[in-house]
Symmetry: C2
């Protein structure tokens, strides 16, 4: 079996609660970011949160893969669920979208969950209890999958755990040994700030395709100057995909540049999954003979679908939208 | 503590999958109804089902209570969850909507789940694995809650289990002993067919307020003649609320009749919860000094909200829609 794309990421189930900015302030939730929380804080926040609008399988890289197969690509996921209902749901939703996933569940820890507060401005603020995802380590890397995938995609969030970092380096080495491409998403500004040196090392040394939003890129290069950050990333990665929210995206590849505008949509409901789905669309284009601008356009279409409703994954078959 | 409304119902988490009629035919799913399935069939159906559009707390009477408090009423729920993630979510979503719920979780069985297939015509076809809900029995009846509630509402689905039937009769006796009103929803045509004699006995002997859709009412009185069914129910219950889908609802109280038209909405997405929310709105009106037509109108507004999106519970605060 060969895959266009494989990915390593956190296995999470999202609990999505519609709330207001007052709630975020009162409960010290960092707006727009992803905060790692322990079981106690996760439970206490959940207790005080409103009723869920919905629950759904999530996890950044997993969302990307589901978008990728919804466009028609083939994909495999490496991550760690627990032996529980959320784990079953997470695995089911990957299998139902034809994403290969076989990792044995953790017997020790529950499946990770992400409590997502969505404010009226459609911004999402995430509070993640990693649970079983913390157990993901080098032994969960499937070398055969990496060797047989055109691109291996790493979810930056995993940098928060030493064991997963080790797995990343192993995956990077396997990818390049097989002559394949390595992609990384920086995931989150705070995550970049926490692991800046390690990220820089990986970006400058091994990453072929980098995904970041504007703020993450600036955090990586410790600059407020977007142009300067773009200049830096241009030198260090073959391709950089920089998303800019409503302003679209900028894609660089050596001296080449493509500017992508955001798809116009009626109403932005919940921005959860926007970056994940942009990556899905871009990678689908890249692995299916499209040029930078065309691939970016597919990313833009996929992102537009996911922000038009609650939940981190497409509700429509994306291949029908192209 | 006193409540406007208390209810006994199945504690369930819904897994909602968007699918087509071919899938229902291929997998022998009874369209539009609720089929009880064992764990094996539930797992096998789930394995073959597509990815979930979303998951959400459900259960017919629980949905009604959440709608009722969203309108501003006070409510308490009696039902049985398991000691697991779905059970936590179910209890959380009731508490977050200010519905009183304290029943200890079952140590033996997982929280029940309902696999709901939604077809492009917005019809929902439900496959329920009851799990811990089968353990609900007379010992789970809280006599104090019933004595202190203006109306006790029974979910017909529970008739499928002997233990729950016993609990129903006990609740009915407690309700009338306290001089309060007893409401029953017939829940499902097949459910009525399975337990016709027992339902008739309850409706003719104890029920003050009956909720049914047109087909359920016809099944109860074994007639294809709607007018004749209405004539029968008029004789046996103080109030009968008969929902008729897009045609609205008919409400009878002795010689009095109110016809309610359905609220016009842009697009019907998923009819899950329509009857539950109509009941919520009607009961809210009834317990808050409204006449039949006004109460029915509130039911119509609540039902319109829930069918305009996926999921069995309102996403908007219903009191804001009045």
């Amino acid at each position: 079996m060969t895959y266009d794309l494989c990915a390593i990421g956190n296995a999470l189930v999202d609990i999505i609660v519609s709330t207001d900015d007052d709630f975020l302030r009162t409960h010290n939730v960092a707006k727009g970011g992803m905060t790692l929380v322990d079981n106690e804080r996760a439970s206490s926040l959940y207790e005080q949160a409103g009723a869920a609008v919905e629950m759904a399988s999530g996890g950044s890289a997993a969302n990307t893969l589901v978008g990728f197969t919804s466009l028609g690509g083939s994909a495999a996921f490496m991550g760690k669920v627990g032996r529980d209902q959320f784990g079953e749901v997470f695995a089911h939703d990957l299998h139902a979208q034809k994403v290969h996933f076989v990792s044995p569940p953790s017997p020790h820890l529950p499946t990770g969950r992400c409590l997502i507060f969505v404010t009226p401005d459609a911004q999402r603020s995430m509070n993640t209890f990693l649970g079983s995802a913390t157990e993901f380590g080098p032994e969960n890397i499937d070398a055969e999958i990496i060797k047989n995938s055109s691109i291996t995609y790493l979810e930056g969030y995993l940098f928060d755990k030493d064991l997963a970092q080790k797995a990343f380096y192993e995956a990077a080495a396997l990818t390049h040994a097989a002559g394949k491409k390595l992609a990384l998403t920086l995931s989150d500004t705070f995550c970049v700030a926490r692991h800046r040196a390690a990220f820089l090392d990986l970006v400058n040394g091994s990453v072929d395709i980098l995904f970041a939003n504007e703020n993450e890129l600036k955090a990586l290069y410790e600059t407020d100057d977007f142009e300067r950050a773009v200049l830096s990333v241009r030198q260090h990665t073959d391709i950089a995909v920089i998303t800019r929210g409503a302003e679209g995206a900028l894609i660089t590849a050596g001296a080449e540049t493509a500017e992508i505008s955001a798809q116009p949509i009626k109403a932005v409901v919940d921005t959860t999954g926007a970056g994940d789905l942009f990556a899905a669309g871009f990678l689908y284009g890249l692995t299916h003979g499209k040029n930078l601008a065309e691939a970016g356009q597919i990313g833009s279409i996929a992102a537009a679908e996911v922000i038009s409703h609650y939940g981190p994954r497409p509700q429509k078959r994306l291949s029908h939208l192209l």
